[in-house]
Symmetry: none
Subunit: 120 residues, 2 copies
């Protein structure tokens, strides 16, 4: 889990992915995050992928599963900071991350999550 | 039906599932609940699954059907108290409970249902 960090910012869990994740890292992250969402009553999960040069299909699936599990625990998931070349590769692989919110920057992502929380 | 209890809290039916349900229990619960929603003019159904260590595909489908039937009777359904490991298992099975609202606690769920009622 050295390549990721999880910080609580009020109602939001901010997850920073600093380098490429192995499949095991990705699964451990999913479990850690889901447990954390329940424990901290987080309203949102913000995943910063700006440190990634590559998102493979396993990580894309894990991001999708994190969003699904978080939704079951009443938290919204937003992915931020994706590089354009990563976005192009994902689309070419047919991985358009349905069910995942996106924002360009961490600040935009926080605005989005706080906006949803206020609307509830 | 020994493993479930249904309590009326003003406009909301609070359903507590205290232990694992057989498929017959799940179907009986669906029928009882749907009849109850119509009889009591409930605006919302709050299903507390914190007593469950496991949600199988039949129960997930029943929850989905309860939400569908309640929606046809103008009541919103919210599932609360799901354990993180249950959420992960559901997502791995591809059961993301579309159409069902979620909240972490009974209090959050009531807030959500009361908020929706006010907006109408």
């Amino acid at each position: 889990m050295s390549a990721t960090s999880v910080v609580e910012l009020q109602d939001v869990l901010l997850v920073t992915i600093q380098g490429e994740l192995t499949d095991e890292d990705a699964m451990a992250l999913q479990e850690e995050l889901t447990t954390n969402v329940a424990r901290s009553s987080a309203r949102g999960v913000l995943i910063d992928v700006s440190g990634l040069d590559l998102v493979d299909s396993f990580l894309a699936r894990t991001l999708h599963d994190i969003a699904g599990a978080s939704a079951l625990l009443a938290a919204e998931t937003v992915v931020v900071g994706m590089r354009p070349e990563v976005a192009i590769t994902l689309v070419e692989l047919g991985l358009t991350l349905p069910g995942l919110g996106t924002a360009l920057t961490v600040a935009d992502g926080l605005d989005r999550l706080n906006g949803s929380a206020r609307r509830r």
